[in-house]
């Protein structure tokens, strides 16, 4: 970027005069380049071609002029004042590009920046990095690099770093220009199961141009895999926030953090999850804990002895135990055998060929069949019909209540009981992942939600076959793992969660990228060499020989 060592010798007056001239020339060049670019832009629309052509052309013209025009043009181009002014101008453009949305329709600018939309559109700051003012600066930048690098010739080990870094900048710049001018980029949409593509739908800046580019090979999508992360069940902590949506201020709940409902042994993925029963402190001062975790939740009933209430009977029918209260019946799945229980002898259930009628007051169990009845005294442990029916337990008075349990260890219907402590007030809430709802905390400003997370995409993979005459290759393309074939590189860029057979690929043919990366390598080597190797040639201090600026410089 810069520059020759500051020459020693001239008188202060001459230095000031030369410095003032350099400052004037710098101002003229930087503002002139931007002004000329802004004027020419009235007729020439911005774009990659505009940028490259203008940068390259103007750069060579400026450099050429610096060799033939008498005066200080060349020394100014390679001087620090010019370089620093240029770097500041480029930095301002880079910052503007982050303050103004790029490449959007004109209506959006008028809506979003009503006061300055006209200026933005007139100066084409809606495409700032492809416009001619920016090209003007880049042209000066290229000329400055060439001019200052040429001052390092002939090359010596003492100052090779500066030269290498600047050559790196030029090479990567040239590569970027080639990339911008010559690269072709486009989309290929394929569906798994043998869909074949022969061409690319060309895009520019992510927008389809309507043009197509023929591929020199055919590309077939054999299979597409959309891989999700394992499903997780977590307790999310949400806080109320005020948002503006379509101009309307409203309250919404935003996820702030989340807690484990259970823990998994990270060193043993096959181990069963262990409920996380620790009490957790929440940012607002409340706390909660998971009191119980049910992977496969159901509500069951439990019968217990009581001082009053109906009698109850625990009976095992065909291997399955059931509590019956007076008036209830249990039967086998095929309906051929039933047990009925009552205070008095119950009536036989209709349509059942064999029934056991248990009477609490008579203390009898009657086996009822079409051909007659047989009664036996009622007792715990009584076995009937060859052991198919067994009386396990009798309660004179009972109470029945519901309770939560898990049917299995599989996470088919996960649920938790959350115990919250808000302002010291403890309460319990059952929360199921199938029907998530908020457990509200302090003044309704925050809430806990037991929720399922199962739509997080881990990877999307295209299994493709590319064929070009007798040559073909198979590959799996994923994000960060593109596939090179026939001079094109294919990137995985899209999928459709609604259609698991769809794969969106980006195809790029970019002859300049290799030079960009070669330039990058040279920049890295040059910077390191300049900062850490060159000082050794000068006896340990890179800047010990450099002049110290006077206080007013």
């Amino acid at each position: 970027m810069s520059t020759s060592p500051t020459p020693a010798g001239p008188s202060p007056a001459a230095s000031v005069s030369a410095g003032a001239r350099e400052a004037r020339l710098t101002t003229l060049l930087v503002f002139g380049a931007m002004a000329i670019g802004a004027i020419l832009q009235i007729w020439i629309p911005p774009g990659p071609t505009t940028l490259v052509a203008a940068t390259g052309g103007a750069s060579l013209v400026v450099l050429g002029l610096s060799f033939v025009v008498p005066g200080r043009l060349r020394s100014t181009l390679s001087g620090f004042r010019f370089t620093s002014s240029l770097l500041i101008a480029l930095a301002i453009f880079a910052i503007l590009g982050t303050l103004i949305l790029q490449g959007k329709p004109a209506e959006l600018y008028r809506a979003k920046y009503p006061a300055v939309a006209g200026l933005i559109l007139a100066l084409r700051f809606d495409d700032i990095f492809h416009g001619l003012p920016y090209a003007g600066l880049m042209a000066l930048f290229g000329a400055a690099i060439l001019a200052s690098a040429s001052l390092r010739l002939p090359l010596s080990a003492r100052r090779a770093g500066f030269f290498i870094a600047h050559v790196g900048l030029l090479v990567s710049g040239a590569g970027a220009a080639a990339s911008s001018m010559l690269s072709v980029r486009g989309r290929i949409d394929l569906f798994a199961g043998g869909d074949v593509a022969h061409q690319v739908r060309v895009t520019r800046g992510g927008v389809a141009t309507g043009a197509f580019e023929k591929l020199p090979f055919q590309l077939r999508l054999d299979q597409f895999d959309l891989v999700n992360y394992e499903t997780e069940y977590r307790i999310g902590y949400y806080e109320k926030v005020r948002i503006v949506r379509e101009g309307v201020v409203m309250d919404d709940f935003k996820l702030k953090t989340s807690f484990d409902a259970y823990r998994v042994d990270v060193f043993n993925s096959r181990a069963e999850p262990i409920p996380d029963l620790d009490r957790h402190r929440l940012p607002g001062g409340d706390s909660f804990r998971v009191k119980a975790f049910y992977p496969d939740f159901e509500v069951a009933t439990r019968t217990t002895p009581a001082s009053e209430g109906p009698p109850a009977l625990l009976v095992t029918l065909a291997g399955r135990s059931t509590w019956l209260q007076a008036g209830e019946v249990v039967s086998t799945p095929d309906g051929t055998l039933a047990v009925a229980f009552g205070q008095q002898r119950p009536a036989p259930p209709p349509g059942v060929s064999t029934s056991v009628l248990v009477s609490m007051s008579d203390r009898q169990a009657v086996v009822h069949r079409a051909d007659g009845d047989g009664a036996q005294p009622l007792a715990e442990g009584l076995s009937l019909l060859g052991g198919v029916v067994r009386i396990d337990r009798l309660l004179a008075h009972s109470a029945r209540g519901a309770f939560y349990q898990t049917r299995s260890r599989e996470p088919r219907n996960p649920a938790v009981v959350i115990e919250t402590s808000v302002h010291g007030l403890v309460s319990e809430t059952l929360a199921t992942a199938a029907q998530p709802r908020g457990v509200f905390l302090r003044d309704g400003q925050s809430a806990l939600v037991f929720e399922k997370r199962d739509k997080e995409v881990k990877a999307f993979l295209s299994h493709v076959t590319a064929g070009q005459g007798p040559t073909f290759a198979r590959a799996v393309i994923s994000v960060n793992d593109p596939f090179d074939f026939g001079g094109w590189t294919l990137y995985q860029v899209n999928y459709n969660p609604e259609d698991p057979t769809y794969s969106g690929l980006e195809a790029v043919r970019d002859p300049g990228v290799l030079w960009v990366f070669v330039g990058f390598a040279l920049i890295c080597v040059g910077v390191f060499y300049m900062l850490y190797v060159e000082p050794r040639f000068r006896g340990g201090g890179i800047d010990r020989q450099a002049p110290v600026a006077p206080a007013d410089s």
Binding site: A94, G97, I100, V479, N480, V508, V513, V516, L531, D543
Partner: protein, 286 residues
């Protein structure tokens, strides 16, 4: 809030406290003729680095990925980088003078991390599942840490010419200064910027190579890319200013401070930009 932090993130909180304690000890070393506070500061800082390492390693194992995804994780790593680099600098330059600045930055980074509530472990999206992810982030954060230390030194440098007490500290032969030699603050700041600039260069270019392998384009004018470029240009200007114009002292210190301000905006401020929604670099939980 503090209760939440100490109960839910005890090791992060403990690491922060170690950094805070080391800051206080280093501060005491400024005024104490004894070597004890300075040594205590170093010991606490080293303990902080050790615990910070353990915290990062633990989270790495728990998450099954490098813990650089969220703002919370990156701040914890940033604190680690500053502390580690500071300890190296302390040995290299044989001074504990900058312990307060380094301690404040590490504690500040941890404290800010702990006020973020995105401490949960989030999944790595496909775009970040790359071999470039870890080197890109590590190189950048060590670079950030280097320019952070350079800024700390630059601040001391500016203060030393204005506040006699600070000036005495930079030249004292006992207490905070181990070597007993006056410090060349300008040189130390420059060395840190030089080291940071090399890493910022490599980080920028590695990021570009990664972008190419992920999206097919090496430069997409993402706001973070642009601001990283601005950062690079500023430190490039700093190096040019020193080399060619011979800028030293206050002016070089101010450029180093401005550069770090831009680094901090690049790191933390991108979400404030109107173009942030289009950036692939905005942290979750900001």
């Amino acid at each position: 809030m503090l209760q939440y932090v100490f109960v839910e993130h005890p090791f992060f909180a403990l690491t922060s406290l170690l950094y805070l304690a080391s800051t206080i000890a280093y501060g005491l070393a400024w005024v104490s003729p004894s070597r004890l506070p300075g040594r205590a500061g170093t010991a606490l800082m080293v303990a902080g680095v050790a615990l910070n390492t353990a915290v990062i390693a633990g989270r790495w194992v728990e998450a099954g990925r490098a813990p650089f995804k969220s703002l919370f994780e990156s701040l914890v790593f940033f604190a680690f980088c500053i502390a580690l680099l500071y300890v190296v600098f302390e040995r290299l330059y044989k001074t504990r003078l900058f312990g307060v600045a380094a301690g404040l930055m590490t504690f500040g980074s941890m404290a800010y991390a702990l006020t973020k509530w995105d401490a949960e472990i989030v999944k790595l999206p496909p775009a970040l599942q790359s071999g470039w992810f870890v080197p890109h982030v590590m190189v950048y954060f060590v670079g950030y840490a280097a320019v952070a230390i350079a800024t700390g030194v630059a601040v001391v440098q500016l203060l030393s010419s204005r506040i006699p007490f600070v000036h005495r500290l930079t030249t004292m032969k006992a207490g905070s200064v181990l070597s007993g030699e006056p410090l060349d603050l300008d040189r130390i700041s420059y060395d840190a910027v030089r080291f940071g600039f090399v890493l910022l260069t490599v980080g920028l270019l590695v990021g570009s190579v990664w972008a190419k392998s992920a999206w097919g384009d090496f430069w997409v004018w993402d706001p973070k890319e642009n601001w990283s470029l601005v950062t690079w240009l500023i430190y490039g200007a700093y190096l040019h200013l020193r080399k060619v114009r011979g800028w030293r002292g206050d002016r070089a210190a101010w450029v180093a401070i401005i550069g770090f301000a831009v680094v901090m905006f690049t790191y933390l401020g991108i979400s404030m930009l109107p173009t942030a929604e289009e950036s692939a670099h905005v942290y979750t939980g900001t």
